[in-house]
């Protein structure tokens, strides 16, 4: 018991998240009943988590830098569409199925990386505030996707590609395994490498980081390019699951990704937050979202709930923050 107490005291955000997770998971099991955690349902969650999980990870990194990346979903959409054009053989016809899959994936990721680095360049080299830069590029990427497709959906993917989204490895969805590996790598990057330290320092105080011999501009471009890559992967995952590509897929993920980052204890003003918190938040949101699907809530009801939860969580964080400040103050007075 003492050990648990010690562990909980060490990281209060993480332990609070664990409690929230258990309470949600158990109460949903009680409310919904047996259908909540059937193996099929869990499998379905495993298929869906990578899609918005990758977006949420990108959002986490942009929050850690004290910025925000609004273009993630638009980027995912655009790169998914570019990949789709090659996969379906509309561009570069005559490739063998295997070659078209390789080319499609590579060019989708290349497009995503270019989009991501454009964000980075606007922010680092032109000093455009991140929110404004990504708001503009979000409009632009959506515009490019719209101009390419004219609002039509692209269909006719090779079977091997669409099967990828439902493939399993030892009973676990392949996409989920891939997602877990990426998350672990990003967690390692943040907690155990110099880049991670720089990200936290930049988020806390960018001017101090500039005068601590940290190459701010290179850091920003690097992280936003990485965000682009994550968005590209998410775009491919979406296309592979829904087997069509169209402008506007995954629009709800933007709010959900912000929600995940904020619930996970990542501060939008930068410098605070851990990947471990974000992982638990991703699972909480996915469990809730599955429950909504079981209850067959309309998109309208979902919007109400997500909006309310977002404001509520921000409010709770604020209260907790106030409490923490008061505690600090009394300590100092003593």
């Amino acid at each position: 018991m003492d050990r648990i107490k010690k562990w909980a005291a060490k990281d209060s955000t993480l332990s609070a998240l664990f409690v929230i997770f258990f309470v949600t998971a158990v109460s949903l099991r009680l409310v919904v009943g047996k259908t909540m955690y059937t193996p099929e349902r869990l499998m379905l969650m495993g298929f869906q988590i990578p899609e918005f999980g990758l977006i949420a990870l990108g959002m986490t990194f942009s929050f850690l830098l004290g910025g925000i990346d609004l273009s993630l979903v638009a980027n995912a959409n655009l790169s998914g569409i570019i990949g789709a054009y090659i996969l379906t053989g509309i561009w570069m016809p005559g490739l063998s199925p295997e070659m078209s899959i390789v080319c499609g994936i590579v060019s989708a990721l290349a497009a995503a990386v270019i989009c991501g680095s454009l964000n980075g360049i606007l922010i680092a080299k032109f000093s455009v505030p991140p929110m404004i830069a990504t708001l503009s590029t979000m409009t632009f990427y959506n515009g490019v996707a719209m101009a390419l497709t004219g609002g039509e959906s692209i269909i006719g993917f090779p079977k091997a590609f669409t099967r990828f989204s439902t493939a399993t490895l030892l009973g676990i969805p392949v996409l989920f395994v891939l997602f877990a590996i990426i998350t672990a790598a990003l967690g390692f990057l943040l907690s155990a490498t110099g880049v991670g330290r720089k990200v936290y320092l930049y988020g806390e105080n960018p001017v101090a980081s500039r005068f601590s011999a940290i190459h701010n501009e290179r850091l920003i471009i690097g992280i936003f390019t990485q965000n682009g890559f994550l968005a590209g992967l998410s775009g491919l995952a979406i296309v592979s699951r829904v087997t069509t590509a169209k402008v506007g897929y995954g629009d709800a993920y933007l709010v959900q990704a912000m929600l995940v980052a904020i619930i996970g204890g990542v501060s939008p003003s930068g410098g605070k937050g851990k990947i471990s918190g974000v992982i638990i938040a991703i699972i909480i949101i996915q469990v809730l979202s599955s429950a909504f699907t079981i209850w067959q809530l309309s998109p309208y009801n979902r919007k109400l709930i997500w909006g309310f939860v977002l404001i509520f969580v921000i409010f709770m964080n604020h209260i907790i923050g106030l409490y923490g400040q008061r505690k600090e103050k009394t300590l100092k007075e003593k």
């Binding site: 505030p129 929110m131 708001l135 500039r210 939008p268 979902r302 919007k303 977002l310 604020h318």
Partner: protein, 337 residues
């Protein structure tokens, strides 16, 4: 102090773009250059102009609001519902409709202001939350029924077909829509508030530097309350104009258009980090966005290309503004990041 120019560099640039673009469209399609097209664009851009004036004020104060389309929809939808379901004849009045919608807008705006001020988090995240919340409250608790052209209260359609005055040209008579009245009132009021009142100066001061504004005795909370409530009120006006214009009310209308309104303000030279912005610029921005929306088809491009051009213009305009600031800062060894 440098004198404020009536038309600054950004605006001359925008006017140039508008002229060039119009010339290009006229070359391809001579039918474009007519009073009819002009009035058509003025009429169809009424809703955006009203909302753009509001968002410009919010952005100048250093904040942002993406919930205003939801507020406009809420105001319009609930007003339509009340007017269709009421039996009192005196309720069927345009003034009542505007008052109702403005009132609801102000309530939501005040809520936004309180949350943004008290929670001290990026206004974008908070208003994105309230956007979902407002939209959800409306569709869940009030209704998600569609009002068709027949179900819309008569006052709205009368307002839409009313004409301010007529102009006689060679090709016939063209009427100027009565939508010009709310637009003109909103623009004049916004201009008056921003340049002729203490509140206007406080808004500029707050957007430039919150701590400096507090030191000269400006209460940021009061300014924020005013700014977001004003945005809400204008959203309410825009909502009523919107119902009259499209003569139907879908529960999913308007929401999603907020970015193109913000784009219009930004293209017009409103600095998204606050403290800078002009009404004329915002109006020119709206004109450009609407020109692109309405006339790309003349150039043989489908309307799917809208966002492409608007996005590209936005990227150019924000990078130019930010880069100029960066150069100026670097010259004085000011580092903001």
């Amino acid at each position: 102090m440098r004198k404020r120019k009536v038309i600054n560099r950004t605006e001359w640039f925008l006017i140039g773009i508008i002229f060039l673009y119009c010339a290009m469209v006229t070359l391809v399609n001579p039918a474009f250059l007519s009073f009819e097209t002009l009035f058509d664009i003025l009429r169809s851009s009424a809703v955006t102009t009203i909302m753009a004036a509001g968002i410009m004020v919010v952005i100048i104060s250093g904040g942002i609001d993406v919930s205003f389309t939801a507020v406009a929809l809420f105001g319009a939808y609930v007003t339509t519902k009340i007017l269709t379901e009421t039996s009192a004849a005196w309720m069927e009045h345009l003034g009542i409709a505007f008052l109702l919608s403005i009132f609801m807008g102000i309530i939501w705006g005040l809520l936004n202001a309180v949350i943004v001020h008290k929670l001290k988090l990026p206004a974008f995240i908070i208003t994105l939350g309230t956007q979902n919340l407002i939209f959800g409250v409306m569709t869940t608790f009030i209704g998600s029924k569609t009002y068709g052209a027949a179900a819309i209260p008569k006052v709205f359609s009368r307002f839409a077909s009313a004409q301010l005055f007529r102009i006689h040209t060679a090709s016939g008579t063209i009427g100027v829509s009565s939508f010009v009245i709310p637009v003109a009132i909103v623009l004049a009021l916004t201009w008056f508030i921003m340049y002729k009142t203490k509140m206007g100066r406080s808004i500029f001061a707050l957007g430039n530097s919150e701590s400096a504004a507090m030191r000269i005795g400006i209460n940021p909370f009061r300014v924020r309350l005013f700014v977001y409530a004003y945005m809400g009120a204008l959203a309410g006006v825009a909502g009523v104009v919107y119902v009259s214009q499209v003569r139907s009310m879908y529960p999913n209308a308007l929401v999603g258009d907020e970015l193109s309104v913000i784009a219009a303000a930004v293209i017009g030279g409103t600095k998204l980090s606050g403290g800078q912005g002009k009404l004329l610029g915002a109006f020119l921005g709206v004109l450009i966005v609407h020109l692109l929306n309405n006339t790309l088809i003349f150039l043989g491009l489908s309307s799917s290309w809208n966002d492409f051009f608007i996005g590209a213009l936005m990227i150019v305009s924000v990078s130019v503004t930010a880069y100029q600031e960066r150069l100026k800062n670097r010259k004085h060894f000011i580092f903001t990041e």
